[in-house]
Each structure stands twice: as structure tokens, then as C-alpha cells.
């Protein structure tokens, strides 16, 4: 089936690639999008461990109803704030875009780099500055406002390092903005000849939509936290009701960013899934155009549903109804994707390698998370479940069961490309399974707890909730083991020589035509694209016995 005009060059394992230069300086001053992707990979992983450690301590405390294991509620309150802030702003928002997006977008569209490589490096430094402040806060006092920073608690009553936290979030926001800006420009101007919009991989479409949200949403968060810092720092009234302000206004500004931000977290994940499924089903994706368009639809409609976090906040009833209705609309494009992925398996020739297992796990868990999101956007039901563990379960289903699964799936899928190494397939499958089981055991009981009425952010809770909480904690330990596993075998794989070959999965897509690891300039020739993506054929693969080094021969 291949139509190759030019012989692909034989790849020689020892040849120069983007990883060849080992000096620290070459890493810290690099403008290579692939190296910056690696820098992000390392830093994002560290933050995940920090957030995960906080989660582990929280789950430990919640084994007993009395607040006895961690000593004081102030410790617990700092823990969940740290967990939320770190996991959202320093792990999940940058995870897929800044690691995989950075690495892959230029490769996928046939470019030598992003449009603004120096800006790209700058966004990593900005991120690191923000992150360092976050770590500083963690070590010298902590914050206890929750990741939502609601006023007037954050501005007038908390006596923790709120101003620092606001500054950290403010700064990190700019890293996100710069990344998004870079992606949009790159996708517009740097596509190789023949790479028309409808030949773009869906991963790129998803990142395009994500970048729109980053560019248009993040500045509002920056202003919202800046106002918090000013109000608190100067002791003046901006959101203080006694001084003419309104605390609900802060909630509007905050959620104007933070609802769309949940799509910053899930859209790239959806992009990853759209790459993995056709590859392992060995057939073109079903409904390409609808999946591409639905990413944009989610990004746009996602901007006008933020009030669904505020149904019981004292928002007017009319506003509540508008926001509720629009929330149901935003489910439609998500539904389109889920159904199209499922249909892609029809008449495929499906293989179950680690990335595919993660992708299938994603579909199931995201669906449950999304459908419980529907319950939350139902006005009357949300009255009861708002700020209970039902909400906690909902968003972990989407963010951990969805986005993190997709992230791990993507890391496993592109690991051979990034490093040139294969990992142990057995351990990979084991990790996917462990994560899936541990995850459900951790978070399914929380739906029940939430409807029973256990509020979130509780250090102590009523004793009848204990059994379900113990189940959840047990699940969390399995989950932690599941996450520790890839950390172990992926690092281990680095000790082997790079033998994965250009295209171990037999995948289409430009990134699979360059060396693994790619050379610094990605392409020796300017690629010319002459067909739609995902040109797999399930029939041609009948005699296919395992993936070979050069799938195209």
C-alpha cells in the first residue's frame, strides 16, 4: 500500500539525534521543541509526584472519621489546596500540550520546529519560575484556600500564603498563554506542502482548539488572581461586600477561565485517543471531520457554561438556567467523539498493546465522568450534590480516568519515538490494568459518598461514611502502585540501546517517518503530503506478524 517516492534513509542507531548533546548547558539553552518537550516531561512528572504525595496523605487521613492521623485540620486544608493547585496548574494543564504537543506538533505537520522556538523555551522558564514559587509556598507555610481561592476567605480570613499562590498561578498562566500562541501560529503557518486542514492529524486539531482556550481564557484567570493579590496585599476592598464589592463576581471571573480550563485538560487527551485507536484498530478513523469540528465546538461552547459551578452560590435563577442549558449543549460534541471512536473499531483488525489498553480505559471512564457531569449540570440535582464527594468523583473520573489515562497512553505510544526504546509490554499491560482497577476502587465509592451527603474538603466526617472511605483509600494505594510501575519500567528502558526503529507500531503519520529519536531538524527533506491521515487498511495487515522496524517495507 505504500507509495513512497524516495527511499527512506536507513536509520543508523548511533547517528546524531536530538538527544546526542549531553551537556547541561545544551539542555537549558535549547530551543529545540523536542528537548523542551523533554524538559516539560521531567518537570511535569515531578509535580505529579508532589500532587500525588499530597493525595496519598489525604487518603491516609480519611481512613478514619476523626481527624486523628494528620494532627490538625490546617495540615489537611493545606494538603488538598496543594493537591488541587499542583495537579491542575502544574501538572494536568501543561501535561499533554507541553510534553506531547511540543514534541509532536512540528513532526506531525512536517515542520522543523515551532514558529517561535525561543518563546517556547521562555514558556518553560516561566513555568519553572511559577513552579518554584509553588514549591517555596509548600515548604514555608502552604496555602489553605482550596484551588478555587474563593473570596472573602482568601482575601480577608485565611492567614496563609495566598498572595504568593496568586503570583505563582499568575506567572504560570503566562507559560500556558505563550504555548497556546505558539501552537496556533505554528499550525497556521508551518504546515508542510500538501498538509491541508483536513489532512491534519486529529491530535493537531485538538491542540488547536486547546490553544484557543489557552489564549482567550488564561488572561482572565491572571486578572482574577491579580485582583485577589491586590485586595489582600493592600487590604483594600475589591470583592468585599461591605465595601461595595461582590464575592460572587470573583467566582464569575475565576470560572470564566476554570471551566474552559477543564477542556484544556481533556481536549489534548481526546487528541491522543484519536491517534491511538485508528492505529491499533488498523483502519481509518470514523467520522474524521466530525471529530475535528467537535474539538472546536467544545472549545467555543465551553466558554459559556461556567456558571454551572455556581448554582447555589447566590447567582440569579435566570443565569443558573442559561448556564445549565448550555452545559447540556457542550455534552453533544463530546458524545460525537465517544461514538466515533467506538465505531472506529468496527471492521478493524484490533491489537491490544499498552497504549490501546489505556485508550479503551479512557473511553469507559471518560464516559462515566461525562455522564455524571450531566447530573451536575442538572439544576435540581446539583443543589444536593454540589460540593460533595459526588463532584470529587466526577472530576477525578474525567481528569484521572480520562486525561491522565490519555496522557499515559500517549507516553506509551510515543515513547519509542521520543527515546528510541521499547519498554516491557508485559509490565505496560499490567500497569494499565492496575491503574484501571485501582482507579475505580478509589473513586466509584465517592459517588455513593457524595449522594449520601459527605461534603468535600472535610478533615473529619460522620462515622457512617467510614467503610466507603476505607475502600477509597485502599483503591488509592493500588492506584499509586499502578502509577509507580511505568515510572520504573520506562526509566529502565533507557538503559537499552535505541532499537525501536522508526515505526514500531506500523503507524501512519509524519512523525513515524523520521528517525527514533528524531534528528535535531526533524526532516532531512521537506515532506509533501498527498493523502488524508489514518490511511490504515485492516485487510492489508492480515499477514502482519508483529510490528517490524520499518512497517512501510
Amino acid at each position: 500500500m505504500s507509495a513512497v517516492a524516495v527511499e527512506p534513509r536507513e536509520s543508523v542507531a548511533v547517528e546524531e539525534n536530538y538527544l546526542s548533546d549531553h551537556t547541561v548547558k545544551s539542555w537549558l539553552l535549547t530551543t529545540d521543541h523536542k528537548r523542551i518537550g523533554i524538559l516539560y516531561l521531567i518537570s511535569v512528572t515531578l509535580f505529579f509526584l508532589v500532587g500525588g504525595a499530597a493525595a496519598s496523605m489525604m487518603r491516609f487521613e480519611l481512613m478514619t472519621p476523626k481527624g486523628d492521623l494528620l494532627g490538625s485540620p490546617d495540615v489537611y486544608n493545606r494538603l488538598f489546596t496543594t493537591h488541587g493547585v499542583v495537579m491542575i496548574f502544574f501538572f494536568l494543564v501543561p501535561s499533554i500540550p507541553a510534553v506531547l504537543g511540543n514534541f509532536l506538533i512540528p513532526l506531525m505537520i512536517g515542520a522543523r520546529d515551532l514558529a517561535f522556538p525561543i518563546l517556547n523555551l521562555m514558556s518553560w522558564y516561566v513555568y519553572i519560575i511559577g513552579g518554584s514559587i509553588a514549591i517555596y509556598i509548600l515548604m514555608f507555610g502552604g496555602v489553605d484556600t482550596g484551588w478555587t481561592f474563593y473570596t472573602p476567605f482568601s482575601t480577608m480570613y485565611s492567614n496563609t500564603m495566598v498572595v504568593h499562590a496568586a503570583i505563582a498561578v499568575f506567572i504560570t498562566g503566562f507559560s500556558s498563554i505563550l504555548t497556546g500562541l505558539n501552537f496556533i501560529v505554528t499550525i497556521h503557518t508551518m504546515r508542510a506542502p500538501g498538509m491541508s486542514w483536513f489532512r491534519l492529524p486529529l491530535f493537531v486539531w485538538a491542540h488547536y482548539a486547546t490553544s484557543l482556550i489557552m489564549v482567550l481564557g488564561t488572561p482572565v484567570l491572571a486578572i482574577a488572581v491579580a485582583l485577589i493579590a491586590v485586595e489582600r496585599g493592600f487590604g483594600i476592598g475589591i470583592f468585599n461586600p461591605n465595601l461595595g464589592g461582590d464575592p460572587v463576581l470573583f467566582q464569575h471571573l475565576f470560572w470564566f477561565y476554570s471551566h474552559p480550563a477543564v477542556y484544556i485538560m481533556i481536549l489534548p487527551g481526546m487528541g491522543v485517543i484519536s491517534e491511538i485507536i485508528p492505529c491499533f484498530a488498523r483502519r481509518p478513523i470514523f467520522g474524521y471531520r466530525f471529530i475535528a469540528a467537535s474539538s472546536l465546538a467544545i472549545a467555543v461552547i465551553g466558554f459559556v457554561v461556567w456558571g454551572h459551578h455556581m448554582f447555589v452560590s447566590g447567582q440569579s435563577m435566570y443565569a443558573g438556567m442559561v448556564f445549565s442549558m448550555l452545559s447540556f449543549l457542550v455534552a453533544v460534541p463530546s458524545a460525537i467523539k465517544v461514538f466515533n471512536w467506538t465505531s472506529t473499531m468496527y471492521k478493524g483488525s484490533i491489537r491490544f498493546d499498552t497504549p490501546m489498553l489505556y485508550a479503551l480505559g479512557f473511553i469507559g471512564l471518560f464516559t462515566i465522568g461525562g455522564l455524571t457531569g450531566m447530573m451536575l449540570s442538572t439544576l435540581a440535582v446539583d443543589i444536593h450534590v454540589h460540593d460533595t464527594y459526588f463532584v470529587v468523583a466526577h472530576f477525578h473520573y474525567i481528569m484521572v480516568g480520562g486525561a491522565v489515562m490519555a496522557y499515559l497512553g500517549g507516553i506509551h505510544f510515543w515513547w519509542p519515538k521520543i527515546t528510541g526504546r521499547m519498554y516491557s509490554e508485559l509490565l505496560g499491560k499490567l500497569s494499565a490494568l492496575t491503574v484501571f482497577i485501582g482507579f475505580n476502587l478509589t473513586f466509584f465509592p465517592q459517588f455513593v459518598l457524595g449522594y449520601l451527603g459527605m461534603p468535600r474538603r472535610y478533615f473529619e466526617y460522620a462515622s457512617e461514611f467510614q467503610v466507603l472511605n476505607v475502600m477509597s483509600t485502599a483503591g488509592a494505594s493500588i492506584l499509586a502502585a499502578g502509577y509507580a510501575l511505568p515510572l520504573f519500567y520506562l526509566l529502565l528502558s533507557l538503559r537499552q540501546p535505541p532499537t525501536a526503529g522508526k515505526n514500531p507500531w506500523g503507524a501512519t503519520g509524519l512523525e513515524w517517518q523520521v528517525d527514533s529519536p528524531p534528528t535535531t531538524h526533524n526532516f532531512d527533506f521537506t515532506p509533501r503530503i498527498d493523502r488524508a491521515p489514518y490511511a490504515y487498511s485492516p485487510v492489508a495487515i492480515e499477514g502482519f506478524d508483529g510490528y517490524s522496524d520499518h512497517g512501510s517495507h
Binding site: H188, D246, H252, F256, V304, S316, M317, Y318, A319
Partner: protein, 98 residues
């Protein structure tokens, strides 16, 4: 590669901007009642359109530039309108706190 605007057209646009500026200031002294605010905003918008089209050369650039201009303005409007919906409609119903 780019359309080069003549000095004359630049000056004409500038003159229009000045006229509009005087118009806003003038309008603020005319008792327009509730129309006061919309009038001021319409004039500001016209000024913006002039600057964007002529000084920033949007008139002769890509469709994409147009889309970005309109979209960012629209997004701002979206944010303001949907936030105001809440504050404006509080108390429309005879239910305390709704």
C-alpha cells in the same frame, strides 16, 4: 508585499479620529439620559474600527486577521454579557437571594 497606505489616507483617518474624540466629549455634556453610555461606546467602537482597519492594516490583511479581531472582541462581549446576566436578573423573581 504589503499595501502601503498613503500619507494622505493616514491623515484623513487621524482627522476622523479627532472628530470622533470631540464627539465623545461633546456627547458627554449633552443630556442623553440612558443613551449616554451606549453612545459613548458606539463612538469608541468606531474609533477602534478605524484604527484597526487603517493604522493596523487589517483592511489589507488576511481573513484570519479579521477573524482574530472580531473573535477577541466577541469573546470580551461574551464574558461581560454572561456575567451581567447574573447581576442584572437578580431580584427579578420574588425569591430572596435568587
Amino acid at each position: 508585499m504589503h499595501h502601503v497606505a498613503s500619507i494622505k489616507s493616514n491623515l484623513v483617518v487621524f482627522a476622523l479620529l479627532m472628530v470622533l474624540l470631540l464627539a465623545t466629549v461633546g456627547a458627554s455634556y449633552v443630556p442623553l439620559g440612558v443613551m449616554h453610555f451606549p453612545v459613548a461606546m458606539v463612538i469608541a467602537t468606531v474609533k477602534t474600527v478605524l484604527i484597526v482597519l487603517f493604522f493596523m492594516h487589517a483592511l489589507h490583511s488576511h481573513r484570519l486577521t479579521w477573524i482574530i479581531c472580531v473573535a477577541s472582541f466577541l469573546w470580551l462581549l461574551l464574558m461581560i454579557v454572561f456575567t451581567i446576566i447574573d447581576f442584572l436578573s437578580r431580584g427579578w423573581l420574588d425569591i430572596l437571594g435568587k
